[in-house]
Symmetry: C2
Subunit: 383 residues, 2 copies
């Protein structure tokens, strides 16, 4: 345990820091909110990709989780989670690994939005001798994939799945992806209500056609956080809220102080003529995600904090190359370089928690004491 | 070897594909050019992060390599490469691992651009009983870090290093980072000449002050490819040319057909109303790098090819979420969806080879036959 009797100050950088106190508060806040709305939470495992993080959820064993890769499904199942929705449209090639999980006792539900996928899934399930639970992906807001609510394919597809002997029609799943681009809390609330209405009305159409639809699954961090009515919805999925990030702060879902994830970095130089501080954390550590570029306040590649996590004025990482971060003031003004000697440790808040965390294969844990309290693995990739 | 008797068609996706025939041609082209310019090449190991790739360089053992992390230095040294420049301004915290390598026989040179770094390095080297080779980082074009050519610090720093008993003054290193934003080949040629002139004139100033400067190291893929005079330069560093990418194609350094790296992906759905194809490769596979966004032709998150690597009309990945890619026509027009059934495999050319490769921990090798001819590991991260 010697390694853990250290503080952030003594770590080699870059390092992915997770404040477990903030993590716990973020999880409790969402659990309390959805509990008050009387709808279960099915957290998304793609943000943390860590069994240790997902164990923090009280209701996880009852309500299951969501994943974005088959590898996540395998990893979380090995960690004891049985009920898993793989929420990316199923490619036939990925079914053998899904079937292998099901044969070992996992309850994996796949999603799809076309007859071609349903036919391929039915055929593969039949030859594997497996019964495959299926949700139809609905496109609530035109943001990505799924069937448009008015498309008559919904009923044809529901009917096909219901009648296919090796498919189990579970219901509807949608994701209000456009809520990430909301301009106000009111807009998020409208996105939440639109998401709910589209999902519920699709489920009603299915039931009217005598197609079962026990599951009505919605979710995104903004709509989960600010939705107030989940009538007709059976579960809410969300992931980013676990850590929170600057994109979420930019649309009012959290404050910068609530962001549980940061990159520990070291000052390696200065450009006095350009009022720049150079650090050892470039896009390999921060990711190339520029999610705040389309927001009212562009945070560059992240907001600069002191080692305690306190935001320092208007300093941001304004540019990044592979292993260099360039810190400037957002306004472009002078920096008191004396305060940032070579070797000083800083922490950078991420634009997008999922993308920044994906640069690392472990979390270094801390709390308000800045002690290193442990390390948790995270899994990236697909195999 | 059973696994390798397969073709790209049968692989589960996303997968990072490396065409070893294109790789060899890219390496030979650069080696031939610099050989005709009578200047040695010191390839950058940060792009490939693979011993197998670096072994393809004829002159590697003679002229050494460049790295961007201490982990790369450790990895390549374990693979048999002794002469290594760690080309990111040295943070004092990283010196113990550098010294450990030196004590085992590695010739590691560090770079720095401030007295604070030089003093810290001298102190640490002294207490470790190590002699540390040092290059002064020069800022040829204001793009990132290094001493401005006119800054009198150059001589003070050179003198300090030369007189410090545990530091070995090796010379000057610069990087024409702004060449990546060139608008024409002529502009690249001017950037190459500027890079050379700045480095050579700094070396002359040092020598006039009786400070040794045996090494004059320059480089970037564009200036290495189009520089014609390297008079006074002792070595050229470059990395991206090994694979090439769309950013390089956008400034005329290569053609799209020469790009050796691609992401194999699978069609998982369609949005007929929006003329979109959905794939299973989002930003976890393609990276969030949008380097072509500032070029004349914005390639989104990458150019879409058929499985043989042939570019398909004007199809690009116009948007990406974590595990979804959205393909549209660059012009926004209609796509013949019949040609892109669910399950079809495609290949995506990357904006930025370093960033896309960093999403994977291995290369799957192929050639013009599309057979999977092997796998090479790559190393990411810092530890």
């Amino acid at each position: 345990m010697k390694e853990y009797r250290t503080t952030l100050q003594s770590l080699e950088t870059p390092e992915l820091i997770l404040d477990t106190e903030k993590l716990s508060r973020n999880i409790s806040r969402m659990e309390r909110h959805l509990s008050s709305c009387k709808v279960p939470l099915r957290p998304h495992g793609k943000t943390a990709k860590s069994m240790e993080v997902m164990r923090r959820f009280g209701g996880m064993q009852q309500h299951g989780i969501t994943v974005s890769t088959v590898k996540e499904a395998e990893y979380y199942f090995a960690g004891g989670i049985r009920d898993i929705i793989y929420a990316v449209g199923i490619a036939p090639d990925k079914l053998p690994r899904i079937f292998s999980l099901i044969s070992r006792g996992a309850e994996i539900t796949v999603i799809l939005d076309s007859l071609a996928q349903a036919e391929a899934a039915a055929e593969e399930a039949k030859s594997a001798g497996v019964s495959l639970p299926v949700l139809i992906e609905l496109d609530a807001d035109g943001s990505r994939s799924g069937i448009a609510p008015e498309d008559l394919l919904l009923i044809r597809l529901g009917s096909y799945i219901h009648n296919a002997s090796c498919l189990e029609m579970q219901g509807i799943l949608t994701h209000a992806g456009s809520s990430y681009f909301s301009g106000s809390i009111d807009e998020i609330k409208r996105a939440a209500e639109l998401e709910r209405l589209q999902a519920v009305s699709a489920s009603v159409k299915l039931k009217e056609a005598e197609i079962p639809c026990p599951v009505v699954s919605v979710g995104s961090t903004p709509t989960a956080a600010f939705g107030t009515s989940f009538q007709g919805v059976t579960e809410v999925r969300a992931g980013v809220f676990i850590f929170q990030d600057l994109v979420m702060a930019g649309i009012g879902v959290c404050t910068p102080e609530q962001i549980a994830l940061s990159i520990l970095t070291t000052v390696i130089g200065h450009k006095h003529d350009k009022q720049r501080i150079i650090t050892d954390s470039g896009w390999t550590a921060l990711s190339r995600d520029r999610g705040t570029a389309v927001q009212a306040v562009d945070q560059g590649y992240g907001v600069v904090c002191d080692i305690t996590g306190g935001v320092i004025g208007d300093l941001i990482v304004s540019a990044a190359s592979q292993e260099h971060g360039i810190i400037t003031r957002r306004s472009g003004g002078r920096i008191d370089m004396e305060c940032f000697p070579v070797g000083r440790k800083l922490r950078i808040l991420p634009n997008h928690a999922c993308a920044t965390a994906a640069c690392f294969d472990r979390y270094t844990l801390t709390d308000h004491t800045l002690a290193v309290t442990g390390r948790w693995e995270r899994i990236n990739g697909w195999r």
